[in-house]
Symmetry: C2
Subunit: 647 residues, 2 copies
């Protein structure tokens, strides 16, 4: 039957196609453009790629529709089904091969693009010196023995004191035609060195886009390059998510699929193009008016966007193809902007410390501080920068996706329906929760029957910290179910205890399992140990201020971060959220060409610490596992959140 | 009937299409890709675009086929028909509009691509310093905190003493992937400054193409960049000919057709691409192995090939968009070569003194001469360079197409069947001729019934010179038919006399008309006057040596050129043909990057003389009209060619 051709139809999209029998469901879905989440990169870990056999409306189009037309249940699927995590009609797409005609339903929960997060960027005073200028010129009439280009260049020198300009061939191609329309020209100049476009008549407006390419989300800001004003912001999911949730999953996909790089590169460029069109629409502009784009991203996103081979980033020593800032024509990336538009990629710092970290440095400028500044940008990878005007250190830290709510039993991204705040009654162990999309706590009658779908990263931190302070979780991280007798919220699952966070009738209950606690412990220990490593390099015992960047860093309650020991000792008042500092840095680089030189020079100065090479890292890591860390003399640690009234 | 749709079929190609009634035949032919010569740019002058109504095989496909389906005969066509130059079934495509379904036959004589001239380039000792190198490297293993690019650059500095290289983004895109295959790399370096490609493993061979874009013919040489050897040469017609025979016709087409530039640019780039594929095939190479291309051409050809707007060249003051040398990626011109291949356009000198003239300077190096050197490159435009190591002057001279055999009553290009040599019996006025494609003279029995189709430029010069020396043509250029009584070869046509050169039974007789003599007189007077103008600028009475470049310059007999006063006084032994000097210059620039700097600096030194601005030009021109010019004290002028035995 292996040579047979089978037909598959996906609902609700209605997309269909024929394939060789034996094709994997994820592969078939991708070829048809069907959106199926595959966060773990096809390793049957995330459980997000569930699909259901359909017997309904679409089924009639398939010749037959039978369970036998799928490959047998794998051991991993059987285990999930036993744990009640995989419905009888459901299969994991990544584990299932198509052997005959079927109709498969992709439920909402298996789709990537359900949650769209807009990364907001903080507003601050900016220098406005855009890399691109438009200068108005009126050329002298043509003369014998002087070319148009010569007349143009001498006029630029005379009128604007810009000697030694070079005219790009594309601009030369416009020059003759423009001059036939008018001797009044608008000359587009890049970095005061190169003429990149020449238009007839007067064109004054100048727009640019600052782009932050995250593993999960794309964020873009459309700016007026002359005033610096942000005219529109927009976000979108990074469509590469269907190839793996984090950069390591995607790199692993690329290792196995030699042609995958084109797929991933095309996917992100298309999404960025769409985002730019949305931005332009929202700002009431034509995307053709966009002339400059700045880009930041972690090394893998950076490489994939610019078309560089990122596979070496997947294996030690995590070599970047290049660290330098990149400049090129935006048209070469097929972005839907003006043909003269330029694109500037900020420099990367090191393997896994990307241009997003460089942008954070540009936004926060630790190099201008006299006090010791710690900046932690927590994403799927955390990037840590420590230093002041004397020295700057950076490292990357593989926290895993736990802080983003992924790969946890009840975890989910920060989207509507996710628990984001939790308070647990010290006596009854009853939780009160706050859910994204509803302003009221769950014990408020206005909460009503708000749907609760999972627990996001910040909610997870709060639950674990609250359970720790309630004595349910021991300092070593163990959920001490036995100590609480037969408490209905503490459930023995196999050999470990779980805490029941929420139960909505007719839905799977939301638990915090021992594995969840361990995942958070591993993430926070990695983060803490990395910070310790940098502090050790600088021979300091404490930092003067802490800036938490990134979505998670902005959403988490600093108090709980300290309770759990995510960050080192620091006065609470000196810990603050930096918002989307990477996005801010991208905007600074967009609006100020001098900032580009600044960051290009600054990254040369930053000392890169490779945690994988540091002999002390493992020691720090082990020491950082307990709650709170033994050396963590947190001054205000108390059984109640400082902003809470006692219950 | 103007909104009606009509069908047209062209034979022998069989191409067909439907058009709005009223469409011009040339327009319809172009849209269908049918090859119809239109040398005069649609002005009913050249008479080359004749088509015939067909009643034969193809006719049945058309609904009807009737003379009434064409627009009425124009006055110009009627005149040609009266002169026996337009057959009863023939029409001029440029004058005729389609009003109903027709089948039109395009005879051989109306097609452009019948004659292919291969421009040969002289071989001389060349410096081999190509702009592109391929260097073999073996990279150190990857290391933490060092990017691939950094390792590559430090190795280039260490191994080859090449510091401060810049890596092009396309090469960066290849770097990571190449390194995954091998640490042995081949690094392609442009001008010792920029890495433009990186390939895994060892690639040693390096090829390039020198390209000479003439108004009429394209010529290309495929060279081994390491040895300088020419591996293949090929020529093709410039397909732009269908838009007009000379640059002024094409510029006039562009003025009237705003979208025409894309058409003409695409046409020549496609033809160049095809030519490169032919070259590669002939040399047994893959065109992907071609990495460098040098290009020369007159300003209009140069501008159209590189996509610059040439329309200002059609009107005074004939402004070039740019004179500078151009460098770009060959891929941007969609040439079928390696994606890393570069293209170098030699600099132009002035309006109508193009990079072909610069290439002639590079091939002939008058700037290295102590004696006074005159170089004349005769094409549709003649370009004249005069000078020595102290000063160099250049001008352009609109000789018109007469020297190329065009726009003369019996004129044709130098192709098989064209009369190229003529001797006329001083008594009987009987001609002996030699025809391209046949090694024997017409009075040799081996000549047999060789077809004679017309007279090419060099043949025209010889006939007129021989007629002058026979006393048939007076010094003022008038054909003195009366003086010879009722000689059967001298025919009164209207108010002027013509000389019957050849009569093949069943074909139109070939005449030299008074208009033909006038056209040659105008051309040679323009050439001579321009030369005089340059000599006057340098305040010299005679030149020490003369080099005649270009196809016409190589084919004409220097003796006759002197008889007619095309060139100034000079010892016959010091007048020589330079062959395709423009092609040689292109090859020099291809093989030697230092030669590129040389010509870039040299064109700055060349003083451009604008004949249109010179007040003395008209005076020189009028004085140069007679045969031989009054001041022309040609020492060896005798009634017989020096190489001929008396008859």
């Amino acid at each position: 039957m292996s040579d047979a051709v089978i037909q598959v139809i996906f609902s609700p999209s209605g997309r269909r196609g024929t394939f060789q029998s034996g094709v994997n469901v994820v592969t078939a879905a991708r070829r048809l453009g069907v959106d199926i989440a595959c966060l773990c990169g096809g390793n049957a870990v995330c459980g997000r790629c569930q699909v259901h056999l359909v017997e309904g409306e679409f089924a009639k189009y398939a010749v037959t529709s039978s369970q036998a037309h799928l490959s047998p249940l794998t051991r991993r699927e059987a285990a999930l089904r036993e744990q009640g995590l995989l419905h009888r009609s459901a299969r994991l797409s990544c584990q299932t091969r198509l052997l005959g005609d079927v109709v498969l339903d992709v439920p909402d929960s298996s789709q990537q693009f359900q949650s769209v997060i807009c990364k907001h960027s903080t507003v601050q005073a900016l220098q406005i010196n855009p890399a691109i200028h438009v200068l108005p010129l009126e050329l002298e009439p043509a003369d014998f023995a002087v070319s148009d280009a010569e007349r143009l260049l001498s006029q630029c020198e005379r009128d604007f004191d810009l000697p030694e300009l070079h005219i790009h061939i594309d601009a030369l191609r416009q020059l003759g035609t423009a001059l036939r329309q008018s001797r009044k020209l608008s000359v587009v100049i890049l970095n005061q060195r190169q003429i990149i476009a020449i238009w007839p008549g007067s064109h004054d407006a100048l727009y640019g886009v600052a782009l932050d390419i995250g593993s999960t989300t794309l964020a873009a800001q459309l700016c007026d390059l002359k005033s610096g004003t942000v005219l529109a912001s927009a976000g979108a999911m990074n469509p590469q998510i269907r190839y793996g949730d984090d950069v390591m999953s995607r790199l692993s996909y690329l290792m196995q699929n030699p042609d995958g790089q084109t797929e991933l590169t095309d996917a992100v460029r298309r999404a960025v193009g769409d985002l730019i069109l949305v931005l332009s629409h929202n700002a009431g502009l034509d995307a053709q008016q966009i002339l400059d784009i700045s880009v930041v991203g972690n090394p893998t996103m950076h490489h994939l966007f610019f078309g560089l081979d990122p596979r070496a980033l997947g294996v030690t020593p995590f070599a970047l193809v290049t660290r330098e800032a990149l400049s090129m024509c935006a048209e070469s990336l097929r972005l839907p902007v003006n043909s003269a538009a330029q694109i500037y990629g900020l420099p990367c710092i090191a393997g896994h410390v990307g241009s997003d970290a460089a942008a954070v440095v540009l936004a926060e400028r630790p190099d201008l501080q006299s006090s010791m500044m710690l900046i932690i940008d927590i994403g799927t990878n955390a990037e840590i920068i420590l230093g002041n005007q004397l020295r700057l250190l950076a490292c990357s830290c593989p926290t895993g996706p736990a802080f983003e709510g992924a790969q946890l039993s009840a975890g989910q991204r920060a989207a509507t329906g996710a628990i984001e705040r939790v308070r647990i009654d010290r006596q009854t162990l009853a939780p009160r929760v706050k859910v994204i999309g509803c302003p009221s706590w769950s014990d408020d009658e206005r909460f009503g029957d708000t749907a609760i779908t999972g627990i996001c990263g910040s909610g997870m931190i709060e639950i674990i910290a609250e359970l720790f302070m309630s004595g349910v979780i021991r300092p070593d991280g163990k959920i001490d179910g036995a100590r609480h007798g037969k408490h209905p919220r503490l459930v023995l699952q196999g050999r470990t205890w779980s805490y029941l966070v929420w139960q909505t009738p007719g839905q799977n209950p939301l638990y915090i399992t021992q594995n969840d606690v361990r995942a958070i412990q591993l993430a926070k220990a990695a983060l803490y140990a990395s910070t310790m490593l940098l502090m050790q390099q600088l021979d300091i015992q404490r930092v003067d201020q802490i800036r938490l960047a990134g979505a998670f860093g902005s959403y988490i309650d600093v108090y709980y971060a300290m309770v759990l020991g995510l960050i080192p000792d620091c006065a609470l008042a000196k810990v603050s959220a930096a918002g989307n500092a990477a996005g801010s840095g991208a905007r600074i680089a967009l609006l100020d060409r001098h900032a580009r030189s600044t960051i290009e020079q600054l990254v040369q100065r930053i000392e890169k610490i490779e945690t994988a090479l540091a002999t002390d890292f493992q020691e720090h890591f082990v020491a950082a596992m307990p709650f709170p860390h033994a050396s963590h003399t947190f001054p205000s640690l108390s059984p109640l959140h400082p902003n809470e009234e006692p219950l």
